[in-house]
Symmetry: C2
């Protein structure tokens, strides 16, 4: 999971994941959305692929990328595990409020 979350730690890479969330895009097309050079995006794509967050498919001389949500499973579980604590606290608060209905 370390690899995935560190891949997400960069804003460019997060934006790439949203760009190819529900459609395939070629590396050059992705790069066109950013103001950094194409090799920089290529490196980001390598990191994302290595982390299992995107799929790569070759079509002729182009390489098409697409988000692979399964790669986020570990991180999602981690976040949900911490988040559930917050939910139980809200539940406690709600129960306390039910006991003392006047409180706000």
């Amino acid at each position: 999971m370390d690899e995935q979350i560190r891949a997400l730690a960069d804003a460019h890479r997060r934006r790439i994941l949203e760009l190819v969330r529900d459609r395939e895009l070629a590396a050059g097309e992705i790069a066109a959305y950013f103001e950094v050079t194409r090799p920089a995006i290529s490196q980001h794509l390598t990191v994302l692929k290595q982390a299992g967050l995107v799929d790569e498919r070759r079509a002729g001389t182009r390489r098409l990328y697409r988000t692979r949500p399964d790669g986020l499973l570990g991180l999602k579980e981690f976040v949900d595990r911490l988040w559930s604590t917050g939910l139980s606290r809200l539940k406690d608060a709600a129960e306390a409020e039910a006991t003392d209905p006047e409180k706000d």
Copy 2:
């Protein structure tokens, strides 16, 4: 959200969040769980606090920390947004299966 996810990009900090997930611990107590020096943990706690991922409470000379799940809201939304794509793909697969019940 950038600050929060970058705070999570370090394994020590993730473990700290789990340690103080549902109980308060003093800085020194937290540090005892790790093999790095206490100042290193103190710096990690500063990062977590800055990102809004932990609450700090002073009690005498001690400082008690506790995970603050609300800080994860932005990241949770981001992950869920990408994750939902995976779910809709599973849904498509399920519907295709419903159309062709023989398939498994």
